[in-house]
């Protein structure tokens, strides 16, 4: 590995997250490169230097202020509260969809009256057919009408 390829390895090597293979590669290179050994030392120093910088902790009134801001948040509305108690948003949506379908079904008007005569006519035709069934099943009539040979065979 050359010095340029080391660029992709430095950080993981310095922070200790390199894989054993990456570590071996880096170490092999370091063994033969004084410049990179020097550079490694500088990275280690930077790593340590960064630890010298403290950061300010939150002020003592941080929590109180936060509680105040949370308390000032508007409470969820009625239906939101209902949704909130449902374990999954999808389930909540599905429930709402079911309720909507229920309302829609309940509010749908009864079948239009115009369709009834059609049904009635069909029933009449059916009745007529049943009434004529004896005539229809009277195959002897076929003979009298000079029916085709196949029919005669029946």
């Amino acid at each position: 590995m050359n010095c340029e390829r080391m660029e992709h390895r430095w950080i993981a090597y310095v922070d200790g997250r390199a894989t054993p293979r990456e570590r071996r590669e880096v170490e092999q290179h370091l063994a033969g490169c004084a410049a990179c050994r020097q550079r490694l030392e500088e990275y280690r120093s930077v790593w340590k230097l960064l630890e010298e910088v403290p950061a300010a902790d939150p002020s003592p009134w941080f929590d109180a202020r936060m509680r105040q801001r949370v308390a000032a948040e508007p409470a969820p509305s009625g239906w939101r509260r209902l949704v909130q108690w449902l374990p999954e948003p999808r389930l909540a949506l599905a429930t709402l969809a079911l309720i909507a379908i229920g309302f829609w079904a309940a509010s749908t008007p009864p079948r239009p009256a115009g369709r009834q005569p059609v049904v009635a006519m069909n029933e009449q035709e059916e009745f007529k057919m049943i009434k004529n069934m004896q005539v229809l099943e009277n195959y002897d009539l076929l003979k009298e009408l000079n029916a085709p040979n196949e029919a005669q065979g029946n």
Binding site: E7, V14, G16, R37, E42, V46, D57, R67
Partner: protein, 209 residues
Amino acid sequence: MVRSDVQLMLGVKHGDEASFELLLRRYRTPLCHFLNRMVRDQALAEDLAQEVFLRVYRARREYVPSAKFTTWMFRIATNLALNALRDSRHRQSELSLDAPAEAEDGSVVSLDVPDGAPRVEQQLVENERVAAIRRAIYALPEKQRAAVLLHKYQEMDYDQIAHILGCSVSALKSLLFRAYEVLRVELAPLVAPAVSGPGPGGTMEGGKP
């Protein structure tokens, strides 16, 4: 038994205020540290940290534990910090003050750029060495700075930081390399000459704060 972040957040989702209180106690300090180092202004950092918690609270009903809680929270924090820095740059340029703290091309500007300086009393107590390190961190381009802070101080893994910054892991590694390279050069005057030869094999493992 210690409840996990996800368990606490699900508690918040179902209206348990005590869970939110526990999350607040668990993360207020790391969040304030991160934001403080990011914007270098304690008052602003606290405001931003409050805003992060408020956004977490507001998003509680829609919360789905799909990503790690800290990734989500620090992503909010990073975006808020970047926006705040952008706004402050706009205000600076509107007031026709000095050049922005960071060049648009991401290059590092000199360390003596005005930077929303910390409070006077802080400056007095802070020793020059720490101040120089702080300035070097603050002089990094914002995204590089966020990457270094999350990597070094929050000890997050590469995947998590990449997710927070919205980039690939390999892009993050390049970002980190560039940032540490700048720090190496900038902080060279503070580094004492090595006493012994840095033989190969050693790492910084265990050197985390």
